[in-house]
Symmetry: none
DNA sequence: TTTGTAAACAGGAAAAACCCTATTTGAGAC
DNA sequence: GTCTCAAATAGGGTTTTTCCTGTTTACAAA
């Protein structure tokens, strides 16, 4: 295959080492070559503006500081709908995957993918227009299932305040004082939250709050 | 430079894609070549046992699921003190950096390092025996500064296990069962930790564990 | 005015967490 | 064997948390 016929890629990743390494790997595939690299969405925009050539595929790191994966995909689908975006991430987070797909990413894979699979993914995305690994498909099925459907669960003002205060070393009595409520009311909030969140004790509360960014560490 | 004279490396990283890519990059350096890759500390041990050749340098990802960076460095300094270990990580966490250095890592760098700098680092570590970037040196200076002197407080094996289990919804009795110890012993650990960490209850324990990266969310 | 309903509050009890002060056990030093 | 020291264990008491089942209060709709 001559260089002219190769599919071209751009890599967007803030980890220089990973980006450069990945470039080497991809350039070793005989159907693909890397056109350019960028460190974030902003840099990518500049490259796409300057560059006369537009890549066929963009490999996009989800976890970027400046203009993150989500925003970048959004911008790309609006401004360069022909470019196929493959999102790349270290974390196997169902919500993020679905968010990216909804935004128009044509595929998603984890950084622990095998290089051969990456090559396959690149081929498939050029042929079929998309590539979803088994794991991702599973996520999608899961998301359509209405049971584990994590509706973000909203809390009443007081409940939320209590939840946050419970993530401290205060006793419930002290929390009651701070909130100017009877300890029994606080106990009610606690009970209600335990049921709603299906947890067994205060530690569960803390874990939940942390996982859902309801408190800062 | 002939292949015979090249310095050899091993890469330990659970992200296949990164590992393979990095391999390409390093093999493109004319002084270095990759001897083998492993996905975690356990695999590395096996490789080192089988393999007749021992690498000069090991590039070690800090964030591994099975046998993590910390444990692996520890094992390496004990069993293969001649191998130079360079730790690799995405996070710029001062405490972790220092921990690794104390354990015997000969260098540390973030994954956003420039490939040229990586090459330099490899050269330097073979010449001088160590390599510390400016950023890391700054961390070290910082650590010697006596104000923010968080002596990382070390825990006994069991204490640590308890601490981690305490960050779950298990009762202390259940933890005792899991650890095959008397509930009273667990109570002893709890007491000891409360005093040492100057906290008042189990929530304090969870917060502490999170802040010090003793558990993953 | 009644009625409905959600939030606040209460009683009472069992379980778990918390606290303090010993005693036992096991491994290594002498 | 005895001594030593730390880790493991125990006893037993107090406080807090957890749980279940009510009642009161406030406020709005009918």
């Amino acid at each position: 295959m001559t260089d002219q016929n190769k599919y071209t890629l751009a890599i967007v990743d803030d980890h220089l080492l990973f980006g450069s390494s990945l470039e080497k790997l991809i350039n070793s595939f005989d159907e693909f070559s890397v056109l350019f690299k960028a460190r974030n969405g902003i840099e990518l925009q500049k490259e796409l503006a300057n560059q006369s050539a537009i890549p066929d595929i963009i490999l996009l790191d989800y976890n970027m500081p400046v203009m993150n994966g989500y925003e970048t995909v959004k911008w790309l689908t609006e401004n360069h709908p022909k470019i196929k975006v493959l999102a790349l991430s270290v974390e196997d987070n169902e919500k993020i995957i679905l968010k990216m797909i909804r935004e128009g990413a044509k595929g998603y894979f984890l950084k622990d993918i095998h290089p051969d699979e990456l090559k396959d993914a690149l081929r498939i995305v050029m042929e079929k227009g998309y590539y979803y690994s088994e794991a991702v498909t599973a996520s999608m099925v899961n998301a359509l299932h209405p049971n584990s459907n994590d509706v973000p669960l909203k809390f009443k003002e007081n409940e939320l305040t209590f939840l946050q205060l419970a993530c401290s070393e205060m006793t419930y009595k002290e929390i009651a004082d701070v909130m100017n409520l009877s300890p029994k009311t606080i106990d009610g909030y606690r009970q209600e939250l335990f049921n709603k969140l299906r947890i067994k004790n205060r530690v569960g509360l803390v874990i939940y709050a942390l996982k859902n960014n309801l408190i800062e560490l």
